[in-house]
Assembly symmetry: C2
Homo-oligomer: 336 residues x 2
């Protein structure tokens, strides 16, 4: 990496983020848990298997249609635990507040965290609050870390993806990114898009109960479905083929993307996950998902067509094909 | 709390911090783990007992004599686990970087984290990096959360403090606070004070091996020895008597405090802990501490003189007495 200064793209979940991790963090913090590069570290402690994850939230604006930084911080940690097969148990909450931040806003944010945690059945058991002088932070940043208990007998890992696996998404994509764009927008687009921010632990518990052959799950957050698929294809060294027509998309998200020139494939989600499983299990997984409030629009969007080459090919709705690459950064900074 | 806006003092570890926690966080996040208000939550999962802690680091300047934000972030989490009786196992690292932050500085900070983690035998297993635009943060903030395994058979808690317990500190106080003041100073005071930032897990393991009667331990960070003692006295509802003459203090720290008008009792430490144990165990505990590099200047500084009234009384070196109250905020903002 030939950058002397940190760029916004280093935090975008795309190519530059991956380079920063690969060239700076991994060589120094190296250990097999971190090197798996999954959403949570999976740890054996005594006779039990745990997962452990962390994320910092810097979303701007703090309040957006469909949620706020508090609910988002809980959902993000719950989902990172859940896609690794963990049942979320306990989480931490670390606040960095800017001097002058509204106490009333803080109150709403804390209440949203409490509500989201209660809904996901996770307890906030430890915390920290720091305040920095006016101008040294932007309102509020929250870090949440979480611990989950892993009891799923199968292995959930990009390394476990198999030839012929189908790829399932639990619903329409891009709403979180579109909601943030809309909230920041000065054009007064009134598309009424709500963030999809949601805790997926219950949906995932239902899926894992229905199939013991799920090979890999990931939540499609920063960088959207496109970045996550490109990263998985690279790390699993598989050729993924996806069909644009099959990807669920709300009309209002399609609309805002057309107006502003965004590709919904790279817009962030905060309540969407993708799943790899054998074709033979796809029907039962889809049925369970479609019966759940967070999976009503679940769909098969692609297949693992080959192994030994890490790439994603999108069959476009007009019949063409294009490579889906890891974006350099992020379409929208501070999306989460 | 009658504040409409967050004040710097809400993050200082003093009275306003405690009010914010008591009036805003606890009523919403309420659960018995959080309500213990110890440095870590202690959790029973299956047949095992764990501790779990989080802290965000916003120290300014990022590099200071004796350490930097990276080593500090590891030491802080290791110590919070250790004083709750946990053997530190795994930790997370969440970075919030300001666009334009020096990659060379980041490299030094990451290396310091890796070195500190290796020394404390804790693994950094999960992480996150966010970047915000120039001006939306101040260089670098780090959150670390940690998990430890608790095997100490005794109960370590402020609720377990007993009448007659002696209070032991592992060495000279105030160096971290004084080092930060010195690093920020424009007066060119050349007192050559190094931060005491250090991982205390090995020292604490030795203590807990030597005595199974330790009642409570805390690290004396933000707010210094004074704030921690005042908080413990209140939460344990005990009258603590401490003797100023017995409190270890380096001459250069005393000097900078006299020049600038600071009270070393309220200066932050990052490698100091206090311990409550019966008088009968004090000798063996002191011996173990003094044989350890992080306890060479360990001393008995006070005693639990009465129960049923929560206060700290300091016998001053000139023969007077004064109440040691929880400070409103912090002498020095962004100390950690």
């Amino acid at each position: 990496m030939k950058y002397g200064k940190i760029l916004l793209e280093h935090g975008g979940g795309g190519l530059l983020s991956n380079q920063l991790i690969a060239e700076y963090f991994l060589p120094r913090f190296h250990n097999p848990y971190l090197e798996r590069l999954e959403d949570s570290a999976v740890l054996n402690i005594g006779s039990q298997k745990f997962c452990f994850t962390t994320d910092s939230y810097v979303v701007s604006p703090v309040f957006f249609p469909g949620g706020n930084i508090g609910s988002l911080a809980v959902h993000g940690t719950v989902n990172d635990l859940s896609v690794c097969g963990g049942v979320p148990l306990y989480m931490s909450a670390g606040f960095i507040l800017e001097e002058g931040f509204s106490v009333a806003s803080l109150e709403i944010i804390i209440q949203s965290m409490a509500d989201a945690a209660a809904e996901a059945n996770i307890k906030i058991v430890t915390g920290d609050t720091k305040v920095v002088a006016r101008g040294a932070a932007d309102g509020i940043f929250i870090n949440t870390s979480g611990i989950g208990l892993v009891e799923y007998p199968g292995v959930l890992s990009v390394k476990n993806i198999q030839l012929g696996d189908v790829i399932i998404v639990n619903g329409t994509i891009g709403e979180h990114g579109a909601a943030i764009i809309q909230a920041r927008d000065n054009l007064s687009l009134t598309a009424d898009i709500l963030s999809d921010s949601a805790a997926l632990n219950n949906l995932i518990a239902c899926i894992l109960k229905a199939s013991s052959n799920v090979h890999c799950m990931r939540d499609a957050t920063r960088g959207g479905l496109g970045a996550i698929l490109a990263e998985i294809a690279k790390n699993a060294n598989v050729h993924i083929s996806i069909d644009e027509k099959s990807i669920p998309l709300q009309e209002n998200v399609r609309g805002i993307c057309e107006i502003l020139g965004f590709d919904p494939l790279f817009l962030a989600n905060e309540g969407k996950m993708i799943l790899f499983c054998p074709k033979s299990d796809a029907d039962q997984v889809l049925t369970v998902m479609r019966n759940h409030k967070h999976g009503k629009n679940a769909a098969i969007i692609g297949i693992v067509e080959d192994i030994g080459i890490g790439r994603v090919v999108l069959k476009t709705s007009i019949g063409g094909e294009r490579i889906v690459d890891l974006p350099t950064g992020e379409l929208v900074p501070r999306i989460c």
